[in-house]
Symmetry: none
Subunit: 414 residues, 2 copies
């Protein structure tokens, strides 16, 4: 079974709202073996909705729509679907009952606009909306399924989880789909693809590989489709075993495990603590670490030393080191890492100093030059990196590399 | 001129990546009067790309594509466009030169795959990629424009801003569209809309208002369309003058001025410096400040005191204060702000302490409770906030409120 997702709404076309509904719906459909062929965003205009439905039903078996079901004048999806399926609106007793109950509970009076919410196309099956007033609609025509849902994310999500997925499961056959994502760090996309070329070319047919790069990281996504979920899982696991032998040093995790989550788990398991001393990353490493709920168990704090004055006075970097080698140097970052670890009394520390750009570079020390140090009780590891000229991407790359250096050190030390 | 946006990539169709590119592109096109008719997401398959291009060119004058330009086998957009436009790949000397330079700088050797990045369709105009190795492509056929860009957001964004918008401006006719966004902080969307209801209802026709809320902020976007840019600008300015009288205390800026940019300008103009002491925001305030190029001129550094130990030892918060009032209290945050300002020798300081959640709340101090202090030479201002239960949104709300408190203090003091 193949699906097309149609998101209806002018706010999406002017870029006011990011379309996060479509990706969530696609994920849910994937879990029951339904592929998404296409995602379309169209305006709140009847012609556009007619056209996109005509296009979608050529290839898709299931067409899922969101948006345009609100009570205001700009919402026209319900009326348009009535015309499209050549049916008319009728008052649905159970929907009007539910809406009345909601309003009674909140001490509000039902208006004419609210009553209209309870009118549904005669030929559709009503999908209850437990989170709001606009019901969902399920149409069938020429063996195609058309589903219309509200655009409000939590209303749509409850409808999909509670009603639509179970209803679709009954319709779909035995198709299964398995995704697994391998997370790599420390090697660029093109170099990685050279190393794993043979493995890639020898993947079983029906197993697909995709490269998903972001600053400092490359994710490799394997997808297998077939009939038996367990068989497919085994095939994928088998390929991952081979891959692990090829690039053991680059794989840091799987699926949606962020580096800061992995580090959090490692530190918690071992009862170890972490601190950071940041210059060019300006607090971004600390932010990534403290995004994780419960991080106060292992993260004690940080000194952000954006000026040499703070590097000297608070991080106790020697004046001579700064004068002789400069703030962006192996020597400085080493002292930063050692001193912050002792000062804040932690097991591990990260220190970063570099030139994020766009200004501040010199011929000897160009924009993108970054030194990263990771210190523990008996060692300080330092690495030098040369990134590009985009400030935010450089901050992100430095952070990702620092976190992965730390991850390896934690594993090595314990 | 009408546009269609096509985002190419399997990762978008399985819901692994949210399509934030399309909304950003739509916003940019809007600023030069180009409406987006449709946004389509299709897979990395040649047939799908052919079909969507055939559909799009019926109604749109400009077709903008992202994705599928990487060096790996799953990326097929360039080859597909060659077939679509009946042309062939040729090595582009200036692109190969640029890629070689990038690799030389980073001390890497050019592989065959990287060289292939420099091959472009013979019939296209190359759009330089200043942030990566995959060039953009501009085709023209039967008075329609087809533009292909990388899917990596910062590469695509630089290409749009630096080359594509200026190139499209030359092609667009005399339609004028004026957007002006008023940035507000410190009041929720529904309360704001109650205060400005009369103003909103009396807006001239052809002037549209949209509410764009995000954690801690509400942006109000006014849009006017017509023939004469100056006339439209005057109409909009007139409405903004009225609005300024209605909500002077909530407006902090206009258009894309982020709070951290405004603060950077204020501090630079006045020759003043800033430091922060962060607990629950965990470095996010420092990160926002240091995202701004040149921030090292006014930002000296920060102490992130995630543990009470660091609050006491490094920020010199009194032991009694922490015992009597707790880490999340007016008294603690006041000492944090005072002490960091003196310790790092700055003109202004921000301090934050709170419970970001999801855990750590008590009946007296629930999740979402945050104290913020802003200190200067002769005063410490403290405010108490009660946010909701979403950790990341709470970190963002605390940051936005802290930055706006600081902005007002800087203006008041100088």
């Amino acid at each position: 079974m193949k699906a097309t997702i149609i998101n209806i709404g002018d706010e999406l076309l002017i870029g006011q709202v990011i379309n996060s509904n479509a990706s969530w719906i696609a994920q849910q459909l994937n879990t029951i073996g339904i592929d998404v062929l296409r995602i379309n965003i169209v305006s709140d205009k009847a012609d556009d909705i007619f056209n996109v439905l005509d296009e979608a039903k050529i290839k898709a078996d299931i067409i899922l729509m969101t948006g345009g079901l609100g009570p205001t004048n700009d919402d026209i999806t319900k009326e348009t679907l009535c015309k499209y399926f050549n049916t008319c609106l009728v008052l649905n007793e159970s929907v009007i009952h539910e809406i009345s109950e909601i309003f009674k509970k909140r001490g509000l009076t039902l208006t004419e606009k609210n009553r209209k919410q309870a009118e549904v196309p005669e030929s559709c099956t009503v999908i209850p909306n437990k989170q709001g007033t606009a019901p969902g609609m399920w149409f069938e025509q020429n063996e195609k399924i058309f589903i219309s849902m509200p655009g409000v994310p939590y209303e749509m999500k409850a409808m999909i989880s509670d009603f639509i997925i179970p209803m679709l499961k009954e319709k779909t056959g035995k198709d299964a789909i398995v995704h697994k994502t391998i997370l790599t760090q420390g090697i660029g996309e093109s170099f990685l693809s050279d190393i794993i070329e043979d493995w890639e070319n020898n993947l079983p047919k029906d197993v697909n590989l995709a490269y998903l790069p972001s600053p400092g990281l490359v994710r490799l996504r394997l997808t297998a489709k077939g009939i038996d979920y367990d068989v497919l899982s085994n095939i994928i696991e088998n390929e991952i075993t081979k891959l692990k032998k090829l690039i053991p040093e680059y794989i840091y995790g799987f699926d949606s495990e962020a580096l800061e989550l992995i580090i959090g788990k490692l530190l918690t398991e071992r009862g170890k603590t972490l601190v950071t001393a940041e210059s060019c990353t300006g607090g971004y490493i600390a932010h990534c670490i403290t995004k994780v709920p419960g991080s106060s168990v292992y993260f004690k704090g940080s000194i952000i030393a954006y000026s040499n004055e703070v590097k000297e006075n608070l991080l106790n970097v020697k004046h001579e080191t700064l004068v002789e080698h400069g703030a962006v140097s192996e020597e400085t970052v080493k002292e930063m890492a050692k001193n912050i670890r002792l000062k804040l009394n932690a097991n591990f520390s990260i220190a970063v100093s570099g030139i994020a750009g766009p200004d501040g570079g010199t011929p000897e020390k160009p924009v993108g030059l970054v030194y990263i140090a990771v210190a523990s009780k008996d060692s300080v590891l330092v690495e030098k990196f040369q990134f590009w000229n985009n400030r935010l991407a450089n901050i992100e790359r430095a952070t990702v590399n620092a976190l992965n250096m730390l991850r390896k050190e934690i594993i090595k030390k314990a």
